[in-house]
C-alpha cells in the first residue's frame, strides 16, 4: 500500500531532525507523548501546524515516516479537515464568521468588502503575504453577530466599514515603519496590494 520512495537522509535518522530546526522537537515531543501511535495523527498534525503555521509537504512526509503511515494517508487526513492549511498564511489574518446568525445579520457584505479592498478571495493570502482572509463555519459567539477575528482578537457587531478600518489598522499597525509615516490616519494611508 505504500509506494516505494527514495530514501532521504532525514528518513534514515528519524530521532533528530537533521535540519536542526528546533520546531521539529515540538513534533517529536507530541509523537513521544502518544508513543508513536498511528491514531494520534490528528494530534501530531495539530502540533505541526501550531509550530510551523502551515503543513508543507516535507512536514507531512516527516509525520508519515515517524508514524509509519503511507504519505497518502497523512495527506488525505490533512486535506480532509478544514483546520489544516497546506499553504502559508499571511502575516495578518481576518477570519469572518459565516454562521447562521452572522448570515442573518449580513456577514456576506463584510466578506465582499474585504475581498474588494484586498483583491483576494476568501481563503487566500495577498501576493505579498501580508494578509489572509478566511471564513469560519461558526465562531460560537452568535450573540455578537456578525463576528470576526482580526489577528486573534474577537470583534463583534461589525459593519463592512468598521471591519475594513480594523483590518487596515491591523495590517498597518503591526509594522512600525508604516505607522510612523502615516501616524495621522494610518487607516487610509495603507497602500493596498
Amino acid at each position: 500500500m505504500q509506494p516505494p520512495r527514495p530514501r532521504t537522509q532525514r528518513e534514515v535518522v528519524p530521532a533528530e531532525h537533521p535540519s536542526g530546526d528546533p520546531r521539529f522537537a515540538l513534533i517529536d515531543r507530541t509523537l513521544k507523548r502518544f508513543r508513536f501511535q498511528q491514531d494520534a495523527l490528528i494530534e501530531v498534525l495539530h502540533t505541526a501546524q501550531e509550530a510551523f503555521g502551515f503543513l508543507e509537504e516535507d512536514l507531512l512526509l516527516y509525520v508519515a515516516r515517524q508514524l509509519k503511515l503511507p504519505p497518502s494517508w497523512v495527506y488525505g487526513v490533512a486535506t480532509f479537515y478544514h483546520f489544516f492549511s497546506l499553504k502559508p498564511q499571511g502575516e495578518h489574518n481576518c477570519i469572518v464568521c459565516m454562521g447562521t446568525a452572522c448570515y442573518v445579520r449580513r456577514a456576506a457584505e463584510i466578506v465582499a468588502a474585504l475581498q474588494d479592498a484586498y483583491g483576494i478571495e476568501a481563503g487566500h493570502t495577498t501576493p505579498d503575504g501580508k494578509f489572509s482572509l478566511n471564513t469560519a463555519r461558526c465562531l460560537g459567539s452568535c450573540g455578537l453577530a456578525p463576528v470576526l477575528i482580526v489577528d486573534g482578537e474577537v470583534l463583534g457587531r461589525e459593519t463592512p466599514e468598521s471591519t475594513l478600518a480594523a483590518v487596515n489598522a491591523a495590517v498597518a499597525g503591526m509594522s512600525p515603519a508604516r505607522v510612523a509615516v502615516t501616524s495621522n490616519g494610518a487607516e487610509e494611508e495603507v497602500d493596498l496590494p
Binding site: 501511535q37 498511528q38 491514531d39 494520534a40 495523527l41 490528528i42 494530534e43 498534525l45 495539530h46 488525505g76 487526513v77 480532509f80 479537515y81 478544514h82 483546520f83 489544516f84 459565516m98 454562521g99 447562521t100 446568525a101 452572522c102 448570515y103 442573518v104 445579520r105 469560519a136 463555519r137 461558526c138 465562531l139 460560537g140 459567539s141 452568535c142 450573540g143 455578537l144 453577530a145 463576528v147 482578537e153 474577537v154 470583534l155 463583534g156
Partner: protein, 570 residues
C-alpha cells in the same frame, strides 16, 4: 480522596467564600470578553484595591451568565440579598459598582438589568445551574456547590444497573438532536460483552449558530467530566474521550485543566474516590469537519482518520472505537446526568412534556432583542422563547421564521409560534430539535436564500463518501443559485423537489439524509416566495439581486444587455 474528604473540601471552600460580604462575579466567556470583559474585571480588582476592601469584596471570573448581547455582564452577590445583574459594564461603571453597590449597598441604576426580566424569569436552569456562578478553572468552586457528590453517591450506593435504570426512568433523551433515549443506549453498552469499553462525549458542535456545548464546557467543565465518569461506571468503561471542536481553544484548555485538577484529587484516574472504579478522560481536538458530529465519523476522527461515516449497524454500542462497545452522547446529555443522580429520576421527569423530559439549552440568536444562551423546560412555546425571553424583534419589524436544528433543521413560520417545543412537535413541523441553535429571522430574510445558505454549507461539508450527498447537494445548490439569481424555470423547482426526496432517502449518514430539510421546510411554508422568484423574478425581502434570466429568454435579453453596455461605455 474519599467522600468525607470531598465534603471537607466543600465545607472549607464554603467557609472561605462566606468570609466575603460581597462577591462580584464577572463573566469571562468569549462573548463578554470580546466586548471588553477583561478590562472590566481589571477595573473591579483595581477599585477594590484602591478602596482597601480586599477582605470583604472578592472578584470571581465565571462562565456564561446568559444575556450575551448585553455583555460584559457583572453579577453582585451580597450575603442575604438577591443577586443583582449589571449589563454593558464599562471600566468606569465597574469602579462605580464597587464604590456604590459593593461597599455602600446602593445599586448603580443606569446599568442595572431588571431582575424580573422575562429573560431570567422564564428560564429553568438545570444543566446550567452552576454556569455564571462558579469559576470554571477552580475545582473547589465546583465542589463547594455539591460537585462530585453525585459520582460519590453513584459509586457507593448504586450498582451500574441501577444507574442505567435511573437514567431510563428520568426519560432523558439525547441532546445531540435525534433524541434517542439515553437510558436505553447506556443499557445496550452495559450489556455488551467486552472487557474494554469507551465513553465518548461529543463536543463537536458544528451547527452554525449553536454554542451550547461550548458554553457548558467553558463554564462548568467538571459537570461534563462528572457526568462522563458516572456513565463510565454505569456501562463499565475505564476510558473516556471528549471530542472538542478545534474552533474552541478556550473550552479545550479549561477541560484540560479540569481533568488534571480532578486527577490530582483522585476524582478521576485510577481508583476514583477510593473505589475500585478507574476512569481516565482524554481530550481529542477536532480539526474542523461538520460531518464529525455524526457518531461513526466522530469515532473515525478520534482514531486519527478521515472523518467519514460508516454504515450502521453495527452501532457504536456494539462495535465502536477500535471495535469495542462505545457510548457516545452529546456534551449536554452528560451535563444532565449529575442533576438526575442528585435529585432523582422522578424530580427530573416532572420537568418537560410527556415524551420529552427535562430542559433544553438554546442559543438564541439572529434578529431578536436579547440574544444569548437560555435554558428552558421542554414544552415551552416558541412564542415565549422569541417574544418573552428574546424580547421580540428589534426595529419594529415582523417575525418571519425561526430556524432550529442548523443545516439539518428547518424554518418554522409565524403561524406555528404557539407550538410546544419538544422532539415530536418540531419533527412534525419539518424541523428538528437539533443541538439547540435557534435563529430568529425577520421579514428582511429571503427564504430561498436561507435554503441556499444551508445547502452551500452541506455541499462544502459533505465528506464525499456516498454519491447522493456528494453530487445531490451540489445539484440542489446550483438550482437554488439559479432561483436566487433569477434564471430558474418551473422545471427547476420540480427537479429540486425530486432531488430533495432522493438525497433524503438514499444518503449514508445523517448529514445527507437531513441536508434537504431546510429546502423542504421552506418550500412547505414559503412556496410562494420560490414562485415569485421564478415567475415574477422578484425577491420581496430584497436580498436576491435577480440579475440573470432563464436560458430560453437569453435570446431577447442579450441584445438588451449589449445596448445597455454600449450606453454605459459612451
Amino acid at each position: 480522596m474519599n467522600r468525607a474528604d470531598l465534603q471537607t473540601m466543600a465545607q472549607r471552600e464554603q467557609e472561605k467564600q462566606g468570609k466575603y460580604r460581597c462577591r462580584l462575579l464577572c463573566c469571562a466567556s468569549t462573548p463578554c470578553l470580546s466586548s471588553g470583559g477583561a478590562a472590566v474585571q481589571q477595573a473591579l480588582e483595581d477599585a477594590i484595591k484602591e478602596q482597601d476592601a480586599n477582605a470583604e469584596v472578592a472578584v470571581v471570573s465565571t462562565g456564561c451568565m446568559g444575556p450575551c448581547s448585553r455583555g460584559p455582564v457583572v453579577t453582585v452577590q451580597i450575603q442575604g440579598e438577591n443577586d443583582v445583574y449589571y449589563e454593558n459594564v464599562t471600566p468606569e461603571a465597574a469602579r462605580q459598582i464597587v464604590a456604590d453597590h459593593a461597599l455602600n449597598g446602593q445599586p448603580v441604576q443606569e446599568k442595572l438589568l431588571p431582575s424580573d426580566l422575562p429573560f431570567f424569569a422564564k428560564q429553568t436552569k438545570v444543566v446550567l445551574s452552576n454556569s455564571g456562578l462558579i469559576d470554571p478553572e477552580r475545582l473547589e468552586d465546583y465542589v463547594a456547590r455539591g460537585g462530585y457528590l453525585a459520582l460519590a453517591y453513584a459509586l457507593r450506593e448504586m450498582s451500574p444497573e441501577d444507574v442505567c435504570t435511573e437514567i431510563s426512568k428520568s426519560g432523558l433523551r439525547g441532546r445531540g438532536g435525534a433524541g434517542y433515549p439515553s437510558g436505553l443506549k447506556w443499557d445496550l453498552v452495559r450489556k455488551a460483552p467486552d472487557d474494554k469499553k469507551y465513553v465518548v462525549a461529543n463536543g463537536d458542535e458544528g451547527d452554525p449558530g449553536a454554542y451550547m456545548d461550548r458554553t457548558l464546557m467553558e463554564s462548568d467543565p467538571h459537570r461534563v467530566l462528572e457526568g462522563m465518569a458516572i456513565a463510565g461506571y454505569a456501562v463499565g468503561a475505564d476510558q473516556g474521550f471528549i471530542y472538542v471542536r478545534g474552533e474552541y481553544p478556550v473550552a479545550a484548555k479549561r477541560l484540560e485543566r479540569a481533568i488534571r485538577a480532578a486527577e490530582r484529587r483522585g476524582l478521576l484516574g485510577s481508583r476514583v474516590l477510593d473505589s475500585s472504579f478507574s476512569f481516565r478522560i482524554d481530550i481529542r481536538i477536532g480539526a474542523g469537519a461538520f460531518v464529525c458530529g455524526e457518531e461513526t465519523a466522530l469515532m473515525a476522527s478520534i482514531m486519527g482518520r478521515r472523518g467519514q461515516p460508516v454504515p450502521r449497524p453495527p452501532y457504536p454500542a456494539q462495535s465502536g472505537l477500535w471495535g469495542h462497545p462505545t457510548l457516545i452522547n452529546n456534551v449536554e446529555t452528560f451535563g444532565n446526568i449529575v442533576p438526575i443522580i442528585e435529585h432523582g429520576a422522578d424530580w427530573y421527569a416532572a420537568i418537560g412534556t410527556e415524551k420529552s423530559k427535562g430542559t433544553k439549552i438554546f442559543a438564541l440568536a439572529g434578529k431578536v432583542e436579547n440574544t444569548g444562551l437560555i435554558e428552558v423546560p421542554m414544552g415551552i412555546t416558541l412564542r415565549e422563547i422569541v417574544f418573552d425571553i428574546g424580547g421580540g424583534i428589534p426595529d419594529g419589524r415582523e417575525f418571519k421564521a425561526a430556524q432550529t436544528g442548523g443545516p439539518s433543521g428547518g424554518c418554522i413560520p409565524a403561524q406555528f409560534l404557539d407550538t410546544k417545543v419538544d422532539y415530536e412537535s418540531l419533527k412534525a413541523l419539518g424541523s428538528i430539535m437539533g443541538s439547540g441553535g435557534l435563529i430568529v429571522m425577520d421579514d428582511q430574510s429571503c427564504m430561498p436564500d436561507v435554503a441556499k445558505f444551508f445547502m452551500e454549507f452541506c455541499m462544502d461539508e459533505s465528506c464525499g463518501k456516498c454519491v447522493p450527498c456528494r453530487v445531490g447537494t451540489v445539484q440542489m445548490y446550483r438550482i437554488l443559485q439559479r432561483i436566487t439569481d433569477g434564471s430558474a424555470t418551473r422545471q427547476d423547482l420540480q427537479n429540486l423537489e425530486e432531488l430533495c426526496t432522493m438525497v433524503r432517502e438514499t444518503s449514508l449518514c445523517g448529514l445527507g439524509q437531513s441536508a434537504p430539510n431546510p429546502v423542504m421546510s421552506t418550500l412547505r411554508y414559503f412556496r410562494e416566495e420560490y414562485e415569485d422568484h421564478i415567475n415574477r423574478r422578484t425577491c420581496e425581502a430584497g436580498v436576491c439581486e435577480m440579475t440573470e434570466v432563464p436560458v430560453l429568454e437569453l435570446v431577447e435579453e442579450l441584445p438588451r444587455r449589449i445596448r445597455a453596455a454600449a450606453i454605459r461605455n459612451q
